[in-house]
């Protein structure tokens, strides 16, 4: 029963493609998977927007959307209808072609990144040997789309937003990729499926071998997550949008459905990078404890994804936005060195036998590097808590 449930969607896909001729079968399977991904994550996008609004509202002691549907949970449908029926306004001076293509150029690569994510056991749409590389290659193309949007709008704010977006995404690309190299080194594979399988509990072990349970893995996970915040332009790295500074940044001149596409791309990007974080560090679809193996694998994946999304929302409800130069400093002077330190740490972990000795050697390195880099980052700008005096009367 558990196995059936686990392989439910795989069997379903198999059943649908079985009658087809051999030559086109993988292509049809890919198309069906893509459709399923779009449907599932499109729905996820809708639900996440509502959940985010409700959660942030609760953090701010408000109620949030509560008019459409039960507890306001159909708000996303209302929003969707609204954006679909809204007039699409294109500035007269805009570069019409590029302006039109930008949302598509943003959405397509983002959707492609989902193809290599293992959603469950045997549930990878495109099980490439170089899956991780595919993920980063597709993700890297989104920067250009953001630039296209900002540049083609012929708006000074959107141009500023585009410049910010490029600089930011380019800078965070490095720690984003570097933080995963450790995983690649340890598992010896670029294939996402193999990375997940390497993290499953070995027979007889009660705890899974998630990379996040190691010192270097934890640090790399946090780095990856922070870089993912920046790559998906989420608070506190939402400078390209920066509504209080540059109004809405690169999509200031978009309205109606195109705006919704940007919005959707942002959320899908958030899902895909969270999904990759789950795959790389949180064991993908594996259960944390061996005795929980009976839970269907895709449930694990989506559960972990949900936790990470909640974290994204939580952080958004809390932090103010960084400034551009601070953002750059953080990427180049903190995250990049730390990612570079984590690489040899992972190697040490491997050769120290992945046990208590590994902990003993690598944990101090990671913590020490973190503290030192953090101190140098803050100390150079003399950022500290202050004490205040009162006038003598």
């Amino acid at each position: 029963m558990a196995a059936t449930l686990d392989q439910l969607f795989v069997q379903l896909l198999h059943g649908m493609t079985a009658p087809l001729p051999e030559a086109i079968r993988p292509w049809v399977a890919l198309a069906i998977s893509l459709g399923a991904i779009l449907a599932v994550f499109g729905l996820c996008f809708g639900i996440t927007t509502v959940c985010e609004r409700k959660a942030i509202a609760r953090m701010q002691n408000r109620l949030g959307p509560n008019r459409v549907g039960p507890y306001g949970f159909l708000q996303f449908a209302a929003d969707g209808i609204k954006t679909l029926t809204k007039e699409d306004i294109v500035p007269r001076t805009a570069d019409q072609v590029v302006h039109f293509l930008a949302p598509l150029a943003l959405l397509v690569p983002v959707v492609l990144t989902f193809l290599v994510l293992p959603f469950g056991r045997n549930m990878t749409a495109m099980d490439l040997e170089v899956g991780l590389l595919f993920f980063f290659a597709a993700g890297a193309s989104t920067e250009l789309a953001v630039f296209m949007a900002g540049w083609s709008s012929r708006n000074k704010y959107s141009l500023l937003g585009a410049m910010r977006a490029i600089a930011q995404m380019l800078s965070y690309e490095l720690p984003f990729i570097l933080s995963t190299i450790g995983v690649v080194m340890i598992t010896g594979a670029l294939s996402t499926t193999k990375i997940v399988e390497a993290q499953a509990a070995a027979p007889g072990e009660w705890l899974a071998r998630w990379h996040v349970f190691t010192p270097w893995g934890l640090a790399a996970f946090l780095l990856f997550l922070i870089a993912a915040f920046a790559e998906s332009n989420r608070s506190p790295f939402d400078l390209p949008e920066g509504e209080s500074e540059i109004v809405a940044g690169y999509f200031i001149e978009y309205s109606g459905f195109k705006f919704a596409l940007f919005f959707m791309a942002e959320y899908l990007g958030m899902f895909s990078s969270s999904g990759m974080a789950v795959t790389l560090f949180l064991g993908g679809w594996t259960a944390p404890f061996a005795f929980l193996d009976w839970v269907p694998s895709w449930m694990w994946f989506f559960g972990k994804l949900g936790v990470l999304i909640a974290l994204f929302i939580w952080v958004r409800g809390t932090t103010p936005r960084l400034r551009m130069d601070q953002l750059m400093d953080f990427a180049w002077k903190f995250m990049l060195p730390l990612a570079l330190i984590i690489l040899p740490t992972a190697a040490i972990w491997h050769y120290a036998g992945r046990g208590w000795l590994g902990w003993l050697v690598t944990a101090p390195i990671v913590v020490g590097a973190y503290v030192l880099l953090g101190r140098s980052l803050v100390g150079r700008r003399r950022i500290r808590q202050r004490s205040y005096r009162y006038a003598a009367t």
Binding site: N61, W314, T318, L377, V378
Partner: protein
């Protein structure tokens, strides 16, 4: 260490997230059309005209002295004084406002008309759901729409109303006593002069009983 402040902040928002479900002090939102806050007694919205007794066209306290029109900061009151005098609900002939309009699209609810009115004739209402599709006529409150009975005033501002009613009863009692004394003096003169003048004496005290009752209700 870097990040401590952020974690503190995250803990704070997390606490508020949970607290908004548990602590009514945190979740202060009122879902307005379904849920309403009790209106505070001092709350003021737009002015209305108080009338005594049952009928608005008789009992209006306003005597069209036009002080409020002059003092109104945004000049939203428009009064035309009547040419003739009409008996008020006590029977005393008074001027009355032939036209009394308040343009509530201009009115800023400052209550200065209420303060300067020497006759307690204009008071602040508490009705705030006044939206209308007609921007001009719908927001111009004429005398008939402005006139509301004293019982309405007593209902919305009980403390003020009680005080004012008391004062008015006192004043009226004084006036009555004076009138009575005058009348008696007159009657004495009249009885001395000619009989048959008792009619006038009997007619005065009767209506005075009504407002006194109203005061007692509140």
């Amino acid at each position: 260490m870097l990040g401590i402040g952020l974690i503190k902040g995250l803990a704070e928002t997390g606490r508020n997230f949970v607290g908004s479900y548990l602590d009514p002090d945190r979740l202060v939102t009122v879902e307005y059309p379904e849920e309403r806050l009790p209106v505070k007694e001092n709350f003021r919205q737009f002015p209305f005209l108080v009338f005594d007794g049952e009928k608005a066209d008789i009992g209006l306290r306003c005597v069209a002295c036009q002080i409020c029109e002059k003092e109104c900061p945004p000049q939203c009151i428009y009064i035309e004084k009547s040419k003739d005098k009409k008996p008020d609900h006590l029977g005393k002939p008074q001027f009355y406002p032939a036209v009394f309009d308040i343009d509530i699209s201009v009115c800023m609810s400052c209550q200065i008309c209420v303060e300067v009115c020497p006759f307690d004739a204009i008071k602040m209402d508490q009705q705030f759901e006044l939206s209308t599709a007609d921007r001009f006529r719908g927001l111009l409150l004429t005398r008939d729409r402005l006139a509301k009975p004293n019982s309405h005033f007593q209902a919305i501002h009980p403390r003020d109303a009680a005080e004012i009613d008391m004062r008015r009863v006192d004043e009226r009692a004084k006036a009555e006593a004076k009138a009575k004394a005058d009348a008696e003096a007159k009657a004495k003169q009249a009885t001395a002069a000619a009989p048959g003048a008792t009619k006038a004496v009997a007619s005065t005290p009767k209506p005075a009983a009504a407002p006194a009752n109203e005061g007692a209700i509140s």
